[in-house]
Symmetry: C2
Subunit: 217 residues, 2 copies
């Protein structure tokens, strides 16, 4: 009984995700679902991305949190198209929440939607939101063993951002170990090393997005 | 229907947690359930605790992970009483998993069991394991806004460890803001500032445990 209900929940989510995807495609909007542990730097990455792209692209942000509007407020200092989703305790976003948030955007005008999922390296992985790409943000301060301990998010993501590389010198994080473990799980995912604090590596991330922007290609 | 099943799961867990608690009390074992984001330093805290207490206390460790035996192997370098639980993808430990793990210990001989929950700041909060205390480990590198963004774990924990205080100088983390937000959620929880890297503050944490050790009091 429990398994059947979980399957129904996932089936219902998949159907809604497919509707979201159709809507995004029709409007030629690139949609990226950002996944990470709490505090890995999703909000900082979004802000640095907006700073570098807002002259050229129209960007919308969907902020997922279990409560508060803390991150949405930070992002509103940079752009107006921000929608906060409070999950009411739920540990991940789902496609229905995203569908409702997207109603607040004028999709025809947008190039890019960045979705900041709830800070959780496990639960959001199983919930398709209709995005084009899942990107996992890992950070040096979390340690180099995250791919070993949380494989699914690294398997399912299309791209891996390693943030807080400014901390590399003062930590025992091994880039080689991290790369090796990510590659064992996911041959296709490129690892982009960045520091949102110093700006290092962000150009590569911006190029990765720009290469995928559908309206301008 | 879904709500009813969730309630049944929680009721079943609570019943098993109460059985665990009885067993722990009968054997005068202090049990601490450690909760945190991935990479906040639960494993390091456990290792530093073992180093400082193993001459005086018999310690058992239960390691919760969605997969791998990575952390259990690290801890086995220091003590032999380590049981790994692999949740098979589940985002939290439950009381039944802990009951099975505890069968591997000789409880009469133990003073203290440290349970390292799955790295997740949300889902483990609702699942009583029969522990005496829930302790949340937050870290400077995650940012000072964690109590704002993840209130339940700070509300439900008996004690807050702030780890990685060696990073305070090079970050914009505000201890005052963090303390204020924790206190707003939970008047009773003391905040112990530690650095597992430098050893700073660990004495206070060790005293906190020693004050609560039932066999020796």
């Amino acid at each position: 009984m429990k398994i059947e209900i979980v399957e129904n929940v996932l089936k219902y989510n998949k159907d809604q995700a497919n509707l979201n995807r159709e809507l995004f495609k029709k409007n030629n909007v690139l949609v990226i679902n950002l996944l990470s542990s709490p505090g890995a730097g999703k909000t900082s990455l979004i802000i640095e991305t907006i700073k570098r792209l807002k002259q050229k692209k129209n960007i919308g942000v969907i902020e997922g949190d279990i409560s508060s509007t803390h991150d949405a407020q930070k992002i509103k200092e940079y752009i107006s198209e921000v929608v906060q989703i409070n999950t009411g305790g739920s540990c991940h976003l789902n496609a229905t929440m995203v569908a409702k948030a997207v109603e607040k955007f004028n999709l025809e005008n947008l190039n890019l939607i960045l979705i900041e999922n709830v800070g959780n390296l496990i639960c959001p992985v199983g919930f398709d939101l209709g995005e084009d790409f899942k990107v996992v943000v890992s950070s040096v301060s979390e340690g180099d063993d995250k791919p070993v301990k949380y494989p699914p998010v690294f398997i399912k993501s299309n791209e891996v951002i390693l943030n807080k590389t400014d901390m590399l010198e003062s930590s025992d994080f091994s880039i080689d170990f991290f790369r090796k473990k990510v590659n064992e799980l996911n041959h296709g995912a490129e690892i982009i090393e960045v520091s949102c604090k110093t700006g290092s590596g962000l150009e590569k991330w911006i190029n990765w997005i720009t290469d995928r922007d559908i309206k301008n290609n």
